[in-house]
Symmetry: C3
Subunit: 159 residues, 3 copies
């Protein structure tokens, strides 16, 4: 059993895979950060959605007024959903791409541009920057994932 | 280092894994397409959610009227969220399934039915087709993922 | 080709990977269950969002009144979205963690606590339990994913 274990964990010795692991962990942690920012705005803006979350503000009408939407909270939530919509394809397609045998330098280029674009996208959404700041950073990340998908389909194609 | 790299990238030589990679790339690209369809409807229906997105329509009240929800935009967004809810489990469980040593023909059957069902689901949602068109296509994809999860748990079970 | 296939599928013989596969399948199935609970509440509360879903209740105004939001349906949907936001990072980072060569006992501790926390979170959301029940179960799952990300970055770091 020992030999097999060693063999399996060697994937992490592959440099492209290590790069994939590093950037995937970074973008997923960035996505997780959106939960904390949402919580921060919910608490500072006193804008909640679940009645049980306002219980500490008292009972009845005094607590009920905190069950409301807030523009800043909704903005962070849209950024979070946009992350899910874009980071999920990156993680899934990126794994297949990392296993499809790309050059390390090409792979790093893809991972770095995607990660940079998504971090820019978050700033563009939360500050917010005037358009096309957010639109362009979204499009760059989208294109990187598309480019990786092309390589995956070219290498692995079996329908 | 070279030998290990070669070893790791051999996963892509496994036919079941190649099939998994092909269909996963296809369904993730299909999911990504929902972003473009949402953008298309937002622009043609002039229905935006972020004030900075309407800045090109002028200032003040003239731009504010485009901050509104539109039935078609919301429909695409629901389809997109449904994709996230169903394609994420497929990608995660499908990877484990592909590594659990299924027959190629059985694996292809699972991947093809899921992919077909999700493409049908998108058409059923966007046209929209009368029910139970959308419900059935959803249920077929759901059942395929369930069937793969059963095989994964039977093969890998270690609690 | 046979030899390579055997080699690739050996990942599933790695005990840490088997544990990862088991807990990932469980939490993804739990997430998929949220779709069924949403459907159950939509049907029993007669609260739908798509006009084509209410066609069986008759035409015109008699069906239109079922196009409405319901507090219970919205609660399940929030729980489902929270699952997506938290289980996606677990599945992605957990895979890299499982391949980074952790001790089996340490890995099992991570996977078990995360899975237990997310099951508790669902109960806390749906019953609902008074806070900080839901908040704590969320924070525990979040911390586990964070701990795995730390191990991944420490092992794989290649920027």
């Amino acid at each position: 059993r020992r030999g097999e274990m060693a063999k399996s964990t060697q994937l992490i010795d592959n440099e492209v895979f290590r790069a994939y692991a590093t950037y995937t962990a970074i973008v997923l942690l960035k996505m997780m950060l959106m939960s904390l920012i949402t919580a921060y705005f919910r608490i500072t803006r006193k804008a909640f959605v679940n009645p049980e979350d306002t219980a500490s503000f008292g009972k009845g009408e005094s607590a009920k007024k905190y069950l409301r939407t807030d523009a800043d909270v909704e903005r962070v939530r849209r950024g979070h959903l946009n992350d899910l919509e874009n980071i999920v394809p990156f993680v899934g397609i990126g794994l297949l791409y990392a296993l499809s045998g790309p050059e390390l330098s090409t792979a790093l280029l893809h991972f770095r541009i995607f990660t940079g674009a998504r971090i820019l996208h978050t700033f563009a959404y939360l500050i917010p920057l005037p358009q096309p700041g957010r639109g362009l950073s979204w499009a760059v990340g989208y294109s990187v994932t598309f480019s990786m998908a092309y390589k995956v389909l070219k290498t692995a194609w079996l329908l």
